[in-house]
Structure formats: C-alpha cells, structure tokens
Subunit: 344 residues, 2 copies
C-alpha cells in the first residue's frame, strides 16, 4: 500500500553564505519506493536539528563529507519500519539512523551500516529523549565529559550552551559524578531551568552584560575552572581560558558562535593560558565512540528512569518548517534539544 | 678575599612596552657580601638567555611571579661556588641555579631550594650544554615531547624554532625515538645545520616566502602532522593546525612571535582543526618535572657522549651586552642556544 505514498524531501539547493535561508533549500515530492532485497523502508517520525548541520552544508574536508548540492539534507532521526526485506528489521520496529530531512527513508542493504540504522527501545526513553540524552547530543556530552574531561568529584565544571542538548547532558552528568557545575546560557528562563530543574549549582546569563561571564566565573569559581565543555567558541571560550585552574581540560565540541561566520573564525587569543596553567584543549567527534554507545545509553536511561537526569526538547512540527526551525539554533531561540516532528 | 670584589648587576628599571630596550635596564655595582650560615656565594660563569624572560618582565599572574621593578633580572646560570657555609656545597663546585643577571649570586640557605641550586657534573656536558640540552631548554624539550607529545616510532613530528635550544633537543630526540622530523627555522643556514648536522629529515625555511610552511608541510607530510612542538605561535601555529593528522598532539611551549606584541595575542583561528582531527593542544611548564630532571639528564648526556645528539650554543661575551644579546632571540639572529658569558 506504500506504493501510493509520496515522500516530501528537503534538499540542499546551494551552499549558504552565512546563515542558511529558505532559498538555500529545495522541496521535492517523490513517490515512495519499495525496498529491494536486504533493504528497509522507514517512515520518519522526528529528526534532530543540530548545530553540526551548518558545517555539513559547507564544501571542503571535515570529519564527515559535505552534503552534495541537490542531495536530501542529512539528519539523524527516529522512524518506524514500514517495509522490510532485511531479517534484522521487522515492520513496526522503532529505529534510529541518518534518515535525512524527508518523510520516508529507503535504506538499501549496503547503506544500513553507513546510516547507522539501529533498533531502539522506546521503553528506555521517549522519541525526544532518543534524539537528546540517548542520542547523538547525549553521546557527545557523555564521551566528551568522561573520556576527555576526566571529571573527578569536587572539581569545577563549566558548560556553555547549558540549556542545549549537549549542555544539559554534560551538566547533569557532571553533577552525578560529584562535580560543582556552572552553566552558561542565554536568558533568565534558560538559566532558571538549568538551576531549578536540572540541579546545576549556578548558571550565568551571557546576555546579562558584556562582563557577565567573566564576573560570574570569578564569583562562582574563584579558584578557577577544572573542566570547560565548549559548545560555542568565540568570546566565551576566551573568557573561560582566562579563568582556568592548573591542569584544566577543555573539551572542544563545537563553536556555534562561529558557524555562520563569513569572516575567519575567531581564534582564542587567550590560548597561552594553556601554557601558564598546564592545561589541555581537545576536540571530540562522537562517531569515534560508536562501539560504546550502548554502555552510555544504558547508564543514562537508568538516570532518566530514576529521575537523576531530566531532559527537555523543543519540538517544532512539520517538515515544511525546516528552514526556520533550523535558524532557531543559531539565534539561541530554541529552549532544549531542538526536534523537528515529521509525522506521528 | 672576596670582600674586595664588586658585583655588577642588571636590574629591571621599568616594564618594557614591546621589545625590551637598553633604557629598560639599570646597571648597579655592589660590593660582594659573604654568605651567612647555610648560605653559598656563587661566581657566575654563564647565564641562559631565554624567550621566557620576556614574560617575566610583565606585570600580572603567570606560571611564575614577575620580576619586580628594581630587582636583579632573573636568569638561570652556571657558576662556581667561591664561598660556602653549607655542607652540601664546597668551594670549587660547579652549580646550576637561578643566579640572575649578575657576576656573583649570594644564595642564603632559605633561597637554595627556590633558586634550584644544584651541583652539576661538567664531565657530563660542557657549560654550554648544561644551559642547553642538559638545562632548562633541554628539559622542556624532553618532557614536552615525551610526556605530552607521546611519540611513537614512525610518527611525523614538526618542531618550530628548530635551531633554537628547545627545538634542537626536540628534533634530535624525536629522531632517536624513531619519528620522521621536519623542523621550521628562519634562514637557509639554520635549516642546513638542522638537517646536515642534527639529522632532521627536512627543514622548512619560513622566511623563504609566505606559503613556505604550508607548501613544505604538504610536501613532506602529505598525511599530516602527528606531533607539533610549538615554540613560536602566530601564523606558523595556524598553518600547522591546518595540516594535522587525526589524533595529533600539539605541545604549547611558547609563542615567541607574540611576546613583544603591544596588541592582543593572535589566537589560532584554525583551532577547530582540533575538533575535526580529534586532536589535542596542551601547555607545559618545565618546572613541573623537576623531580625527573636527573633521569632526562642521564639519558641525554649519554646521547651527547655517543654522538647521537649534538648541541650548538651561540655565546655572547660580557654582562654589559645583556640588553642587545637578549634582543637577538626575538629577531631570530641567534643560531643555537643563546648564552651570555659572564666570566671565565
């Protein structure tokens, strides 16, 4: 019966300059095809909107190939198997994978591994949580904090983008590991939520004034910052660099403040603080930890169940809103993990 | 008899703006005093002139307190004990310590530890070598490369300031550990020496043109750089960042290109290469490894004896030439470890 269905898709029409605009996208409607031997057809339920998507739109070498002009935009998502000619997947299975910004993803056998298609257990977490704490952002936060940050009980941890998907995981996990945690977020509402709901020790509203971050760090952590989980780059990175404790670790996860730049990235001019403080700055890419996702998912789904960890998603409805929904990430309008709902 | 002697000293007259000039220094002549109980009087033979000295002249928090205005300029040096009331030191002993830019250093008992005064064996190396491979620069190179760089045989290593004191140690040590080593130095003479005398695999003359470093790295290490030992910062750091191999380690040892800046330090705008390449940038301060200096000295003096390691010093004669001698470091005029000879 799926043969009569239409698959609406969002394709990259051209490489954006600065922020991606509606004109940078192209909508196509294609008939839904049936899977060949070994393949699977997935109906997309929700997709994840992530800062990294901006990088995928650019030409050039990175940790992953760019999305080609004319191709369906890459996106991780949750779906249901609606047709299967692969014994590993049954009709009705909930799955996670790189489904793309489209209503249906036809995944041929040879693409199953590359698209990371795996069955997921919707008892372990909601669809939103599977795109958040139990998904890529959660895995990024988990392995960045644990493997690169190496937190010890009693240490001081700062996380920027604190109300975002990665930030909320990092801060709550650091609290569970016995650290003192200060978030950095934009606006009083996000800061309140991070402290009152998630249990961070404090949160600095970077929009409160030009010296808010500097003054806040000084007040909360007079002896300096042991671990900084950086999601934003730019001025905030420089400010934290100036407040490092000896032996500090900085996890470079992203630099959302720089992604829409049409000018060169702003390098951290306080990087020599690494020398003075014998500190380390290290980048991570979550895919390197794929073998260990199940361990992290098991640990964090237990925290979700026993209430030690909470999550918040900001759900936008409908594939046609994709361009504007994505923009919210870069303006900081989203509050919680940004999810685009494609169908029920 | 030492009571009739005069001690010529170089003191910091004011905090320099940009490069230190002759007017930033003040000369004083004081009578040489005798040590009190537990103290030692050392006649300075040679002192080490190091890029780090520029930082010590600045106000503000760093890994070590600034030199106060009016104080004798801090410097590590080699001397001979000429009077001792401490059983650990005998007249005639050769010693290393923070002697300062002066002809005689009176080290009271309570200062012996802080000034790092230790007996040295002039059989293990010459005075020049004790300020070079066996001294602070050598220790910096050794522990930076071994503890932070973690070199493995077959890996690619780039070192800037290759003909300088730290650089020559790092490059030769990396060769001994089985790495492929490219130096970066200013001018054909330094590059020739680094390759022909020290056995580096290649050396890039950064003065050869604006794209010399980029083109050179591409030609020598098409698969990227595993370890970069950074003594210079600035453009060269950015260029190497753009050529990292996956899992690369950058040792931040200094940033001589930035020390005389009157404008803000230039941050590495390519720092997001750390993310793409899962790479690490870490600062080191040699004093942290003081407990292990003897191990490194034993290893490297063996290399000097069996000819696997060579050293070159650039010796300038006379305490009165101190201001101009120091300047040579920042113009790159020195060729080899810069040493100021104070007396025979």
């Amino acid at each position: 019966m799926t043969t009569t269905l239409t698959n609406r898709q969002v394709r990259l029409a051209r490489r954006p300059e600065g922020a991606a605009k509606r004109d940078d996208w192209q909508y196509t409607d294609e008939p839904v095809a049936q899977p060949a031997e070994g393949g699977v057809l997935v109906k997309t339920l929700s997709i994840s909107l992530d800062p990294a998507m901006r990088g995928w739109m650019n030409e050039g070498k990175s940790y992953i190939a760019p999305v080609e002009i004319g191709a369906v935009m890459r996106a991780g998502g949750i779906g249901r198997v609606v047709a299967s000619r692969n014994p590993a997947f049954a009709v009705g299975d909930a799955v996670y994978g790189t489904l793309g910004v489209q209503q249906y993803a036809l995944v041929p056998q040879e693409e199953i591994k590359r698209s990371g298609l795996v069955k997921i257990d919707l008892e372990a977490g909601t669809i939103g949580q599977w795109l958040n704490v139990l998904g890529m952002p959660g895995m990024t936060g988990y392995f960045g904090l644990m493997d690169v940050g190496l937190p010890k009980a009693g240490e001081t941890v700062v996380v920027s983008g604190a109300a975002g998907a990665v930030g909320q995981t990092v801060g709550q996990l650091a609290k569970i590991k016995g650290c003192r945690v200060v978030g950095i977020a934009g606006g009083a509402a996000k800061c309140d939520w991070v402290v009152k709901e998630l249990g961070f020790d404090a949160c600095i509203d970077y929009k409160a004034g030009p010296s808010a971050v500097r003054e806040g760090l000084k007040a909360h952590f007079p002896k300096g910052v042991d671990i900084y989980f950086d999601n934003v780059g730019g001025e905030i990175l420089d400010t934290v660099l100036a407040k490092l404790a000896r032996g500090a670790r900085i996890i470079i996860c992203g630099a959302i403040s720089q992604y829409n730049n049409t000018t060169p990235v702003q390098g951290p001019k306080n990087y020599l603080s690494l020398l003075v403080n014998r500190a380390r700055m290290q980048g991570i890419v979550v895919f390197d930890y794929a073998d260990r996702y199940p361990v992290a998912i098991a640990e964090m789904s237990a925290y979700l169940k026993d209430g030690r960890m909470k999550s918040r998603e900001d759900v936008v409805d409908g594939i046609d809103t994709f361009p504007e929904a994505l923009t919210r990430l870069f303006t900081g309008e989203n509050f919680g993990k940004l999810v685009l709902k494609i169908s029920d």
